[in-house]
């Protein structure tokens, strides 16, 4: 009797086989998916790495070029070259007795040369990293989904001048 009852509730063998095959295929799909994602991310990381290398090289090359051009410009503008160019254009050193002096209000010949902004003591917060990247996902959700409607409703209620 007991055997009969068990047999009545027992799964058919083909159903069990289907379940196992299904589980196996699920595991296979899972593994394939993870492998796919891993490969994709690895490929992207590798491509990014190569791009970084290439950009670093470009930065280096540009810096080198800037240095070369700066040095070249400095040589072209050296006092020796400038004097010979001036002489070629017909200029001559000024004789103090021939000098004519004009008073120019506000002109200060001794003013400090400024090649960069002056030193500032206040250090502004770096704007390069957006706030969204500095908070947790939960905080972001709270701020942008839950609190956002509240802020909007507050704004609507405010009386603006």
């Amino acid at each position: 009797m007991k055997n009969h009852i068990l047999q009545a509730y027992k799964q058919a063998p083909w159903r069990i086989q289907i379940q196992w095959i299904g589980l196996f295929l699920l595991a296979l799909v899972l593994v394939a998916s993870i492998t796919g994602v891993y490969l994709s991310i690895s490929a992207q990381a590798a491509a990014s790495g190569r791009k970084i290398q290439s950009l670093e090289r470009q930065i280096n090359n540009i810096n080198n070029e800037i240095a070369e051009l700066t040095a070249e410009l400095a040589t072209v503008r050296s006092i020796e070259n400038m004097q010979s160019k001036a002489e070629a254009l017909g200029f001559a050193p000024l004789n103090p007795r021939e000098a004519v002096y004009l008073e120019i209000p506000g002109y200060n010949p001794h003013a400090d040369l400024a090649l960069a902004p002056p030193r500032v003591s206040i250090i502004a917060e770096s704007p390069s990293v957006r706030a969204a990247y500095k908070i947790s996902l939960w905080d972001w959700l709270v701020q942008n989904i839950w609190q956002a409607p509240l802020r909007e409703s507050q704004l609507e209620g405010e009386v603006l001048p």
Partner: protein, 594 residues
């Protein structure tokens, strides 16, 4: 009931399992054999390299923003033995393009078998020009095409590598080299600034090198850290004034037959050095010629590196001390009846011409540059304590603190020293028996030109670091004399020049100044006929904007400062007023009244 062949299945399964386990164990064992460890160690070579990144050295500008020192790119050509496959082609290309290389040497090096414990990288040539590197690149490309065509491994420049590196360059050549110093860039690891600004500000200019690991695995590559370039400097030097000074000094040496010399121009109100010429001249772009240009103990910059007996220019300090302390006033007189002053009844002091000049007031003493009068002032009126107190207040006996490397300083011999005798006080009063540097004289005399305020001489006006400019605030060293004394001294020395119709006088500009002729001591005493000729002057007297110091060492045309140094001062000032845009006194008076 067991299936048929059950036992056989079990045996096969066991055998397969044992074989699998054995394979895994063997694989693990292989990993720990000495050969495997060696192989793993070798593989690290291919995983990445540790590299030190040197920030570009800061630029040096003159006060108007003209570049005096900057960087250009040179290439280091080297041989990495690990990658060499064709020593012949490498030796041929390298020796053809780089003249200093010999084919056989390069071939021998490239043929060396690389051993694990040896350096595998060798530098063939440093600071190769961009053009030559471009030619090497062209050859490399051609070889690659030929290899593709012939489907062989040769010819190949594999292993021959070139890397860009920083190379210091001075676009103005030798101009201002004595102030700038130089950067010995050939050995990058030990490179540093030598002399001048390059040495004094070496740490700031260099920046902070960083060592980073650069993996070959593209998955591990990260962006390099941002490396700040070295700080840049804006100097107080004006390149036009500097060029004028160097040309004038060279002409002066050619004319006077002097062994060497220096001319300094400073702003007495701030202590800024506007120009500083010093011989011999030197091209820092070829710094390896340093020893040939400065043989023996030749100073790199005699304006700060050489102490000498200045002679009568020092009387300015003695007289300023006497007037400021109240030991003498403008009406104080000295009767030079015999032309000799006896120190402690033992040592005679004579005038420059061994003559007697009769009764003279203090202006007369300065006008005729009377040694006996100044010895009298120092011994009988001032006394040693007050005299040396003033000398120290004027900064003698210690460094001025100028921001240039290798500043010399000769200590004062003071009464508390055992070797000091009263004769020292007498000779010191007119600039003998005391050694000072030209920059010390400039700093001291600037106090007289600047209403008694002595400023720290300096050559750096601003520092540009991390994109921000810091301007240097002029520093007051001391107030050795009162403004009244300073004005009295200026008036006294301007009047003296005018009354003497000195060669130093400049048309249209009232200047004050003093000549100096310093005897040069030898091992036997003051036996040499050669002298140090000097002149120190400043102007315009109503609003001094420059102090000019001239020193010509051992002139042969004349021993006297009034004949050698004074005309050089005039020559310098005539050009200086144009370069500094200083109108003549009459024009300035008109501008003020308007």
């Amino acid at each position: 009931m067991k299936p048929p062949f059950y036992r056989r299945y079990v045996i096969v399964a066991l055998v397969c399992s044992i074989l699998s386990i054995a394979t895994v164990l063997q694989m693990m064992r292989i990993n720990y054999t000495p050969f495997a460890l060696d192989l793993i160690a070798k593989s690290e070579d291919y995983q990445g390299v540790r590299k030190t990144i040197y920030p570009p050295r800061g630029t040096i500008y003159d006060r108007k923003g003209n570049i005096l020192a900057t960087n250009q790119i040179g290439y280091e050509v080297g041989l990495d033995l690990k990658f060499v496959t064709d020593p012949e082609s490498i030796a041929f290309a390298a020796s053809t393009l780089l003249e200093e290389l010999d084919y056989l040497d390069v071939f021998a090096l490239a043929s060396t078998e690389k051993r694990a414990d040896e350096n595998r990288y060798y530098v063939l040539s440093s600071y190769v020009s961009k053009e030559k590197v471009e030619e090497l690149e062209q050859i490399k490309e051609n070889y690659a095409k030929r290899r593709q065509e012939t489907k062989s491994l040769k010819p190949s420049l594999s292993g021959l590598i070139w890397t860009p590196m920083q190379q210091r360059t001075y676009p103005e050549g030798s101009l201002g080299a004595n102030i700038l110093g130089f950067y010995n860039y050939f050995s990058r690891e030990t490179a540093q600034g030598v002399f001048g600004v390059e040495e004094a500000y070496n740490r700031l200019l260099t920046g902070k090198p960083q060592t980073v690991y650069m993996p070959n695995d593209p998955n591990l590559i990260e962006a390099l850290p941002d490396i700040e370039p070295g700080a840049s400097l804006i100097l107080t030097i004006d390149r036009e004034i500097q060029k004028m000074l160097e040309e004038t000094l060279q002409q002066a040496l050619d004319w006077s037959g002097g062994e060497g010399g220096t001319i300094i121009v400073a702003d007495p109100k701030t202590g800024e050095i506007l120009g500083m010429a010093s011989t011999p001249y030197f091209n820092p772009n070829e710094y390896w010629a340093y020893e040939a240009t400065f043989p023996g103990i030749t100073p790199y910059n005699r304006a700060v590196g050489t102490a000498y007996e200045p002679g009568s220019v020092f009387k300015v300090i003695t007289m300023a001390a006497a007037l400021d302390s109240g030991a003498a006033d403008l009406n104080t007189t000295y009767n030079d009846a015999s032309g000799v002053y006896w120190v402690s009844n033992s040592w005679p002091i004579y005038n420059w011409n061994y003559g007697a000049w009769g009764v003279q007031d203090m202006t007369g003493c300065m006008r005729y540059s009377l040694n006996v009068c100044l010895a009298y002032v120092a011994i009988d009126l001032l006394g040693p304590d007050l005299f040396y107190e003033y000398l120290q207040a004027f900064g003698f006996g210690r460094s001025t603190g100028i921001d240039l490397a290798s500043e010399a300083n000769f200590p004062l011999r003071l009464p508390e020293n055992n070797q000091w005798v009263t004769l020292d006080l007498a000779t010191n009063s007119f600039g003998q028996g005391i050694a000072v540097t030209p920059i010390q004289m400039v700093a001291a005399v600037s106090a007289i030109a600047n209403n008694g305020r002595m400023m720290t001489p300096h050559v750096v006006r601003s520092v540009i670091d991390k994109g921000q400019q810091y301007n240097v605030t002029p520093q007051v060293i001391n107030n050795p004399i009162s403004p009244e004394t300073a004005q009295a001294m200026t008036e006294m020395l301007a009047y003296s020049l005018e009354e003497e119709a000195s060669i130093a006088l400049v048309d249209g500009y009232r200047v004050a100044g003093k000549t100096g002729t310093g005897e040069i001591p030898t091992e036997l005493g003051y036996t040499s006929n050669l002298t140090n000729a000097s002149f120190v002057g400043w102007g315009p007297t109503d609003d001094p904007q420059f102090v000019v110091y001239v020193w010509i060492e051992k002139p042969t045309i004349s021993p006297w400062g009034s004949e050698v140094a004074a005309p050089i001062f005039k020559d310098v000032v005539e050009q200086l007023v144009v370069l500094m845009r200083i109108p003549p006194d009459s024009v300035r008076a008109g501008m003020v009244s308007d």
